[in-house]
Amino acid sequence: MGAGHSQLLYHCSDSPVHRLPPEVKIAAMVAFTLAVVATPREALWAFGGYAVLVVAVAAVARVRPGWLLRRSLIELPFVLFAFALPFLGVGERTELLGLSVSVDGLYGAWNILAKGTLGVLASLLLAATTTTRDLIIGLDRLRCPQLLTQIATFMLRYLEVLVGEARRMRVARLSRGDDPRFGWQLRGFATGVGALFLRAYERGERVYLAMLSRGYTGRMPQVWQGAEAATPGQWLVASTVPAVAAGVAATALVLT
C-alpha cells in the first residue's frame, strides 16, 4: 500500500484470518452477528459460547485482547442506556442488591450488553484483519451496487484529502497568530468549516479528473483488486465460525 493511505483500524500482520479474501470475512461476520441477535436472551450459556468463538478468532488473527477491549469502549453510550433499563421497565419486579428492579428490564439490559458487545467485537475483528481497500473489493464481489462501492471508494479516498486540508488550514491559522486553547478549537473550526469543505472539494475534483483521464470508468481496475476471488475451500474455512454460532443459536432456540 502506497504512502498516505491511513488505515482506520487495520492491524498489519500476517495470519490465516488476514489471508482470507475480504468477501468471505464480511459474509462470515454478518452471519455470525445475525446468529447472535437471533438467540433468545434467556439462554445465558449461548453467549458464553459466542464469546469463546470470538476469543478463538482473535487468537488465530493475533489481535491483542487489550486493543480489542479498548476499542470496544465505543459501545459506552448504549451500556449506560442498558443500565437505566432495569429501573425504567414495567412488570414483575425483583430485589437486587437491595434495589427494586424490573425483571424484564434486567433481561433487556443483559440483551443489549451481550449482543451489542459481541457485535462490536466481531466488527473490530473484521476491521483489524481487512484493509479498507479490501473491504470495498469484498463488497463489490458480494454484488453490492457499483454506485455504492463508488461512493464508498471516494469517501475513503477523500477522508485523507479532508484530513490533510484540515491540517494545512490549522497550521495556517497558527502561523497567523491564532492561539487555540479550547479543547477542540470550536471557533476556528466553525468559521473554517465551509472553506475546508470547498478546498477539499477542489482538491478532490482534481483527483477525480486525473482518474478519469487515466481511464477510470466507475470501477477500480483489475490490478487494484489484487488476489483472485475466494475459492470454495476458503468459503468452507470461513464458514466454520458462523456455522458453529448458528448451531448454538438453534440449540438455544429449541431449549428455551
Binding site: 461476520m29 424490573s102 457485535g119 473491504l135 461512493i151 469517501m155 475513503l156 483527483v207 477525480y208
Partner: protein
C-alpha cells in the same frame, strides 16, 4: 479522537422489527440507486464522495451535552440533500452507516436497516422536503439559503431521532410502559441541541459553497443561483 457509538446497537430492538426495517431500507436503497444513477455525473461523483467523507469525519466529533452521559453527533442528512440531492444524498449517508457498522461496530450490523431508515431515509427525506418548500418561500438571498439549511438540518435531526422512538415502541428490548414518553422527551430534547449544532455547520458549509461554486449546490440547480455579492475567493496558495 474518541469515537463513541451513537447508532442503534445489536439487541436494543428485537429481531422481527429489525428484519421489517431491513426490508424497508433495502427497498428504499434500491430506489435511490436507480434514481441516483441518472444524476451521478462528473460533478456529482466527487461531490458524493466528499459529502460522505465529510459526514464520516464530522460524525466522529461528539457534542457533549451538559454531562458526559449524554452525547450525540452530527447526522449530515440535510447537508447531503442540499449538495447532492435526495437520492444520492441518502446513499451517501447509508454508505457512511454501513462502513461504520462493518469497521467500527458503531451500530450493530443486524440493526443496519433501522439505522439506515432513521438517518439515511427519514433524515434525508425530511430535510429535502423542507429545503424544497423553504427555498420556494424564502427570499433568494444568502440569508434565505442559510435559514433553509439551518432549519432543514435542525428538523431532520429531531425527526430522525424520533424514528428511533417509534422503532423502540414497536420492538424495544424492554417494555417501558409509560416511560416511553420520557424516552421520547429525552431524545427529542438532546437532539434539538444537536440539531442546532448541525444546523450551524450545515448553513456555514452550504453558504460558503453557494457563494464560491453555486454550480455545486444541487438544491440551487433547478432555480438558478441566488443573488450574491462578490466574495474573496477561498483557498489561495496551496
Amino acid at each position: 479522537m474518541e469515537h463513541l457509538a451513537m447508532h442503534i446497537s445489536n439487541g436494543i430492538i428485537n429481531g422481527p422489527v429489525a428484519a421489517i426495517f431491513a426490508v424497508i431500507a433495502l427497498a428504499a436503497m434500491a430506489l435511490c440507486v436507480q434514481r441516483g444513477r441518472q444524476h451521478l455525473d462528473d460533478r456529482l461523483a466527487p461531490m458524493a464522495g466528499l459529502v460522505a467523507a465529510f459526514i464520516f469525519a464530522v460524525q466522529m466529533i461528539n457534542f457533549p451535552i451538559f454531562t458526559a452521559g449524554v452525547s450525540g453527533h452530527l447526522l449530515g442528512g440535510a447537508l447531503a440533500a442540499l449538495l447532492v440531492g435526495p437520492w444520492v444524498g441518502a446513499l451517501c449517508v447509508a454508505v457512511v452507516l454501513t462502513v461504520q457498522a462493518l469497521v467500527f461496530g458503531d451500530g450493530g450490523v443486524a440493526m443496519l436497516g433501522l439505522n439506515i431508515t432513521n438517518l439515511a431515509i427519514i433524515g434525508t427525506a425530511a430535510a429535502y422536503l423542507l429545503i424544497v418548500a423553504l427555498l420556494r418561500v424564502l427570499p433568494r438571498t444568502p440569508a434565505g439559503l442559510a435559514v433553509t439549511a439551518f432549519v432543514s438540518a435542525l428538523v431532520s435531526v429531531v425527526v430522525a431521532a424520533l424514528g428511533f422512538v417509534v422503532q423502540y415502541k414497536l420492538g424495544g428490548a424492554v417494555d417501558l410502559g409509560d416511560n416511553i414518553a420520557g424516552l421520547a422527551g429525552t431524545i427529542a430534547g438532546t437532539h434539538l441541541l444537536i440539531g442546532v449544532g448541525e444546523g450551524l455547520i450545515t448553513a456555514m458549509t452550504v453558504l460558503t459553497v453557494a457563494k464560491t461554486r453555486p454550480d455545486l449546490v444541487y438544491a440551487l440547480r433547478a432555480r438558478g443561483p441566488i443573488a450574491l455579492s462578490p466574495v474573496p475567493a477561498v483557498g489561495g496558495a496551496r
